[in-house]
């Protein structure tokens, strides 16, 4: 399954898609990038006259690349046809170190901890363009491919 195929099958769209490219994918981990659009809706409110990417959005970016894209790659055998995975974030614990400003590109690096019974747990790091660590932590989620009857 290629990076383009994974991104095309993600269950997100603008304004809540936070994956541009996937540059490395194996069954042990994934690396991907996203550039925050300087006109994104959340900058109007976070914060007043001082736009900074919210931590929940950074967490979402880490989860979309680090859990969902990796999970889809893991389930590539089951992801035949046009099936779109059903996903749920079940755990997040992230420490934040640096701000991300509008227009910045970030790189997410996720390493698989456990993938059993359709649950994926990962150690995920997010870096800025200078290669500085912006945030890191643990994320877990459940991913399943719906049966045809559920579609």
């Amino acid at each position: 399954m290629t990076a383009q195929e994974i991104i095309a099958r993600l269950p997100y769209q603008d304004p809540f898609l936070f994956v541009d490219t996937l540059t490395e994918i194996t069954s042990e981990g994934i690396t991907g990038q996203y550039t925050f659009n300087k006109d994104a809706y959340f900058y109007k409110g976070h914060f007043k006259n001082r736009p900074i990417t919210p931590g929940v959005i950074l967490t979402e970016c880490m989860a979309q690349i680090g859990l969902v894209c990796l999970g889809m790659y893991m389930l590539k055998e089951e992801l035949r046809g046009n099936a779109i995975p059903q996903i749920a974030l079940t755990f997040s614990q992230i420490d934040f170190f640096l701000p991300v400003y509008p227009g910045e590109q970030v790189t997410v690096v996720s390493e698989k901890d456990v993938f059993r019974f359709h649950k994926l747990k990962c150690n995920v790091k997010l870096y800025n363009e200078k290669g500085e660590l912006v945030c890191r932590g643990k994320l877990s989620g459940m991913i399943k491919i719906p049966e045809k009857s559920e579609l």
Partner: protein, 84 residues
């Protein structure tokens, strides 16, 4: 290992994942993980992984689907330990 010892170990394992405190306090062989303790499917996987670590056994897909109560967990753990 006696049944009481096994139940005590399982009780320690499930504690971080339960959502119903009252059902946890009165946990017995007849307690159901999902209906009584309100453990969700994501945390049920954590229970399975912690059981594997605690008893040094490997639980397969078909066992996992059955392992939804204290009684079923005791049966699976006992069977796996006996097979070693």
């Amino acid at each position: 290992m006696t049944n009481d010892e096994l139940i005590a170990k399982l009780k320690t394992i499930v504690q971080p994942y339960i959502q119903d405190e009252a059902a946890f306090e009165t946990l017995s062989e007849d307690t159901d993980f999902i209906n009584d303790l309100k453990i969700n499917s994501a945390n049920l996987v954590d229970v399975i992984l912690d059981v594997e670590d605690e008893f040094d056994i490997r639980i397969e897909n078909e066992d996992m689907e059955k392992m939804t109560s204290v009684k079923a967990a005791m049966a699976i753990v006992t069977e796996k330990l006996a097979a070693q």
